[in-house]
């Protein structure tokens, strides 16, 4: 397998992992919205309510930065990263 194919394989792996986490916090948990809301969440808000107004949103922010860092590492590993900019 060529270097480029390996790079793409890893990139795809990271995509699936990112999308899996995304799925959980944008869709998965809201399948159980009613049940989850009976539970207390952070800062004392009902749990589902908290996820809709802070939790999921904040997790998406962190997820994107995490994804960007992981992807940079993958690019560096194969020598595909760009030089001298940010």
């Amino acid at each position: 397998m060529s270097k480029q194919e390996q790079h793409w394989e890893k990139t795809r792996g990271l995509l699936f992992m990112t999308l899996a986490i995304w799925f959980v916090f944008s869709i998965g948990i809201f399948l159980f919205g009613a049940e989850m809301n009976e539970v207390g969440g952070p800062f004392g808000y009902p749990l589902t309510y908290w996820f809709t107004c802070q939790g999921s949103l904040g997790i998406f922010v962190i997820l994107i930065f995490w994804f960007a860092n992981r992807q940079e590492k993958i690019d560096e590993e194969f020598g595909f990263s760009e030089r001298g900019d940010d």
Partner: protein, 600 residues
């Protein structure tokens, strides 16, 4: 002036700008103490900020295609994040979102999840790859990846349908704010708004829009957060509302139980002015079925990843790496406002319905409420209404009606904040609507000038001529949008949501599969765009004309149907026709590697 070391000086430039804006707020509040009228303060706020944007727009003028279309590809990560956040957060986000949460609670908050979660798709599926591609516009990617004028043209059509639906709402919002702040009739105010919008974008194109959007973000975020924190502190609800409103949320739940949601008779409701609503849904309880919530969130997420005016912001970063990080910053800056909207809704609702608070009106006598100053003001502005349906002389929860915009616009006044805050909020709303309108008009005009005029009609056109065409189109599209906005056909929010559905119906899968599926070819992409858009639009028309719909897909989520048709037709047609040639395959390989020259 804006070149080279301007980029290095950005933090300083915008630091001074932010300080200057804060100083302006302080000067205005002193002027208010000294007796300046509310009307003058409103005019000052809107005129001062718009003048600043116009100056930035003028300083960013350019005669280079690269600067006009993609801001010279040198916008640093964090600043591009701010510009994207302003580009993204429309008049609807600013003025209507807290109101939507106030009235509809959980079911509406699907939009919060959808309008943020979409950025994960942008970052992981599209933005870095389109940045590597090196295109000027989104149809530029479609046209080059799939080849042929027809695919390029189809992409322009989808882009125009989606963005134009969106832009009329934004021009409408600038008109509304300008007409209130400057006290002129709406029909004229729309054109005042339009001229302000064009001042930012006409001379500098994307470069002008970038630097005005950063300035607009700073205004709109201060204008949103300052009142939320101030009101929360004034009510004694907590100095950092986001972490401290649990008791208030619980208290609203108690009061809702105590009052109950009494249903009004249809005849009574007819007397309520159009556009106003009462509180009929629980504040923090789960009041929508999982599918209703998820389908709306999903439609908004896929729509986010298909809207060209957002995607093209990531064409302006210096590198692929920067494009990825920039998506994160964009969402962070959006998060600051979105996470505050539910807090504002909570504070606003509690201050109105809690009889133990001095501002609470539920349980007071109708005559007493009608004598309150702010009630009279907002009743006159057609945003508040009370009526004694049951004739007991006391205001009940189901007898109080409010417009969605009032949550953002009126809460500062209800909480007893000085008028300077209302002026600030008007400037913030104007900034939000203007920045989005600019992004959208530019997206349409650039697509038509670059993809239709330059790439299809006259490939030999010189840069100067191309930029003249681009600017003429900008003005024409702006005026077309303003003319439709002046007719006031749709509500602000409805048309915004449709734009997402149109975009995802036609563009989501052609864009994503263009990067992630090498086998996708021209025929498939054309089928995907055409059938996706047509079936989505047909579904919308069917539901709007009394159709029952299926699978719980409503007029707000028709993009789910459209994009499903798009996916299936694109895959089927691609597999039935020839695989893309070796050159195209190589182009896709090239897009997937961040290093090296851009593809175009």
């Amino acid at each position: 002036m804006i070149k080279g070391n301007f980029i290095d000086n950005l933090p300083k430039v915008y630091g001074i700008y932010t300080g200057g804006f804060l100083a302006f707020i302080i000067i205005m509040s002193i002027a208010e103490q000294m007796g300046m009228t509310a009307k003058t303060i409103g005019i000052c706020f809107v005129a001062f900020t718009v003048a600043i944007y116009a100056i930035i727009g003028y300083l960013s003028r350019t005669a280079q295609a690269d600067a006009y279309y993609v801001a010279g590809r040198q916008v640093p990560t964090v600043f591009n994040g701010m510009a994207t956040a302003a580009d993204w957060m429309s008049g609807a986000s600013f003025v209507a979102m807290a109101g939507g949460i106030y009235f509809k609670g959980y079911g509406y908050m699907a939009l919060l999840v959808g309008w943020t979660g979409g950025y994960v798709l942008v970052a992981s599926l599209l933005a870095p790859y389109l940045r590597k591609f090196g295109c000027y516009t989104v149809p530029d990617f479609i046209g080059t990846r799939y080849g042929g004028n027809l695919s390029r043209f189809m992409a322009v059509v989808v882009l125009t349908v989606a963005s134009f639906t969106y832009v009329t709402a934004q021009i409408n919002a600038t008109g509304t704010i300008a007409s209130v702040a400057l006290d002129i009739p709406f029909q004229y105010a729309v054109y005042v708004g339009l001229i302000s919008i064009l001042l930012c974008s006409m001379l500098g194109g994307m470069r002008g829009v970038t630097w005005t959007q950063v300035a607009q973000y700073i205004v709109l975020i201060i204008a949103y957060l300052l009142p939320v924190f101030w009101i929360s502190n004034k009510m004694g609800a907590g100095f950092f509302p986001h972490f401290m409103l649990a008791d208030e949320v619980a208290r609203i739940g108690e009061l809702e139980q105590q009052y109950g949601f009494v249903k009004n008779a249809a005849a009574d409701l007819k007397t309520v002015p159009k556009g106003l609503a009462g509180i009929t849904k629980a504040h923090s309880a789960v009041n929508a079925t999982p599918w209703a919530f998820i389908s709306l969130a999903l439609a908004m997420m896929m729509g986010t990843a298909s809207l060209p005016h957002v995607m093209m912001r990531y064409f302006t970063t210096p590198s692929v790496k920067a494009a990825r990080k920039s998506v994160g910053w964009s969402l962070f800056f959006i998060f600051l406002l979105y996470s505050s909207a539910p807090m504002l809704a909570t504070l606003s609702k509690l201050s109105l319905i809690d009889p133990s608070l001095p501002t609470g009106i539920i349980g007071k006598s109708i005559a007493e409420v009608q004598a309150i100053d702010w009630y009279q003001n907002w009743n006159q502005a057609n945003l508040m209404f009370v009526s004694d349906f049951n004739g007991n002389g006391t205001l009940e929860l189901n007898e109080f009606f409010m417009g969605g915009k009032a949550v953002v616009l009126a809460t500062p006044e209800i909480a007893g904040l000085p008028y300077v805050i209302s002026g600030l909020v008007a400037a913030g709303g104007m900034a939000a609507a203007m920045s989005t309108a600019d992004g959208l008009i530019l997206a349409i005009a650039n697509a038509i000038s670059h993809d239709v005029y330059y790439k299809i009609i006259d490939p030999k056109a010189e840069t100067a001529k191309r930029l003249v065409v681009a600017r003429v189109l900008l003005v024409v599209i702006g005026f077309a949008g303003a003319t439709i906005a002046a007719l006031e056909i749709q509500g602000i929010l409805g048309s915004v949501i449709w734009a997402f559905d149109f975009a995802m119906s036609g563009l989501f899968f052609p864009l994503v599969l263009g990067v992630w599926w090498k086998r996708a070819n021209k025929e498939g992409a054309i089928a995907g765009m055409f059938l996706g858009l047509v079936s989505g639009a047909a579904y919308l028309i069917w539901v709007r004309t009394g159709g029952s719909g299926f699978l719980g897909i409503t007029q707000l989520t028709f993009g789910i149907f459209g994009s499903a048709v798009s996916l299936v037709s694109m895959v089927v047609v691609s597999l039935m026709t020839q695989a893309p040639n070796a050159a195209t395959q190589k182009m896709v390989d090239n897009v997937r590697v961040p290093a090296g020259k851009s593809v175009i």
